[in-house]
Amino acid sequence: MDTILSVLAVFWVLIIVSYLLMEKGLGIFGQVTRGLTMFLLEKALGPGSDLVEGRKGSGSMVWIIQGVLWLFISSTLTFIGLWLAHDPVALHSLEAWGYHPVSSEFFYGGKFAALFGCVGMFIIGTGLHILPNLLEVNLASEKNAVLTSFAWTLSVIILVIGSQNNEIGPVNVILLGTGLNLVVTIAIIANQLLTKASSTVELATPGWLIIFGLIGNPIAVISVFLSGEYDSGLGQWLVYHLSGATFFFSSIAGISLYSASFGSGNPLWSRTVAGVVILGTIFTINPFGNSDPSMAIDMLGLTSAELILSHQDNVAGSFLMALAIIPIIALSSNILITLRGTDIFVENPDSAGIPEINFGAWMLLPLGVASLFIQTDTLSGTNELVGISNIVHLMVIWTILIPLSMGAAIQVLPSVSGRYPLSQNRARLAFWMISAGALFGLVLTMMSDIADVVLIEASIEGQNALSHTLRKAGSVIFYGTVLGSIFHSTNLFSGLYRGSKVSSTKSPSETTFTIDSFPLTSTTTIRKILATGAVLDTKIVPTFESNERGNPTSLHEEE
């Protein structure tokens, strides 16, 4: 049996067993396990648990707010990495302090900050709100959720430091960060599973995506170790992609589907297509990510091995990656059609978070195909596209993972904090700066990378002026992303204190399939109202338009 299928077989078995245990419970051990886990989540923390109030929604809010801070840090690190790529001595004055800044190290640190700091915290924070809402219960332990957020941030700080210098004395810094990260992940999984265990409500598809995203990451690591492939290049490549498929893709699919429905007021376009996302995520190999799995290798403290494939592995890997386009298309279409299900989205284009989800959903397919080409190229050993692997990975992070997770987090934040962002205009400006800066900045850098790849293949030595100019322009344009993240941060922080209050912190529309009220702006049919998820108790609220003649806005009063 070839390596890929043997590792995946273990992974699939473990996932199915986990699903059955979650559905059927642990039998007579269930009550004991719940009590013990609850004890470990709260009482075992000792006086630490008394430091926080444990107010409803506080866990989710703290994770999201810290994620916003990591958004700013990750964009700054990535910007400096892009700049140093065309001007390697730009920060040489820092060498006086013994620090030697290198572009690749900034990219590496930026990826840790973006993936685990920003995206990871958005995913977990949003999930801490969504899952209890879908299950119609409270989160098992808000206190634990709040406390673990700080431990997670500490782990990301350690990972970013490790990306600059992995060996400090005898300590493997990245492995240390991973260990702390793993402890928090286990606590979050326990918290979410306890929440699920306390509910009798059937969990909607987005909830399952979030759960599989959480448990899939450790299961992927366990699978590779159980199958004994952790020291082979293929096993390391596989664990990198399985972790990405579960924690990042599956979780983001769950939170973005929920937020697309919640934000637009439309029910999910298709439950079946959402189910395809779950199956596709688990039973295929997600192509997103770098062709070099060094991030997973460093995090697991392994020694990098050469990627050697048999013909069978090559065929199985390429086939399963090609199949991964199905869940990618399914997710993209489900989000986009849900957002446009009725005219509600068109009437409320300023709703913060929705543009980010829209943008991320649009970018899924083109970057999915691009990643597929790069990974197939690596698996086949051709290695012609290795030169653009890093930039495509950055594009995946900045135009898919961050927009989708951030959009969902911004949608959820008012529900947990009780207030909207301070200014919708500033949120919209920040969206344009982040998305346009990331898209155009990274596209120009990709053009430069492609030019370099072509020149290297043609054996032309020396620096190419066009490539250099493109790289410079790309880094400057990406600065818009840094500015956008600053605008988002200040807007969301101010909104926590001075934003307009949410009239009701919990509305039935959060349950995805029913809505509390339907704004009637024009003549419509009952079929269309019912299609939005309305039930017999839904209120029809007439929203009248003013017939007054418009006038120029008076900027200041004359005395």
Binding site: S93, V476, V482
Partner: protein
Amino acid sequence: MSDNTSDKIGQFLQGEKEPSSSWVILVIGIAASLSFLVIYNVLYPGQDLPVISSVLPMFEGVFDSGIWFFILGVLIGAFAIIGTILTEATIE
């Protein structure tokens, strides 16, 4: 004197609104400063500016890349975020 009275005196002294033309004074001030710098260069050609010319060489080799302008913006942004958190939390 009651707090109410002191408020009124403050309003009397400073007014409640900024005149729309006050920025003109600021622009005139900046333009005048630049003009005097030009005149200095005309009157004393080849002479370094006092104080500034002795301070700037300290930064030679340190801020000699355009990235520092962007990093300055990042630092301002970082302080804006920290300032927002602190002021919003303590404003009341």
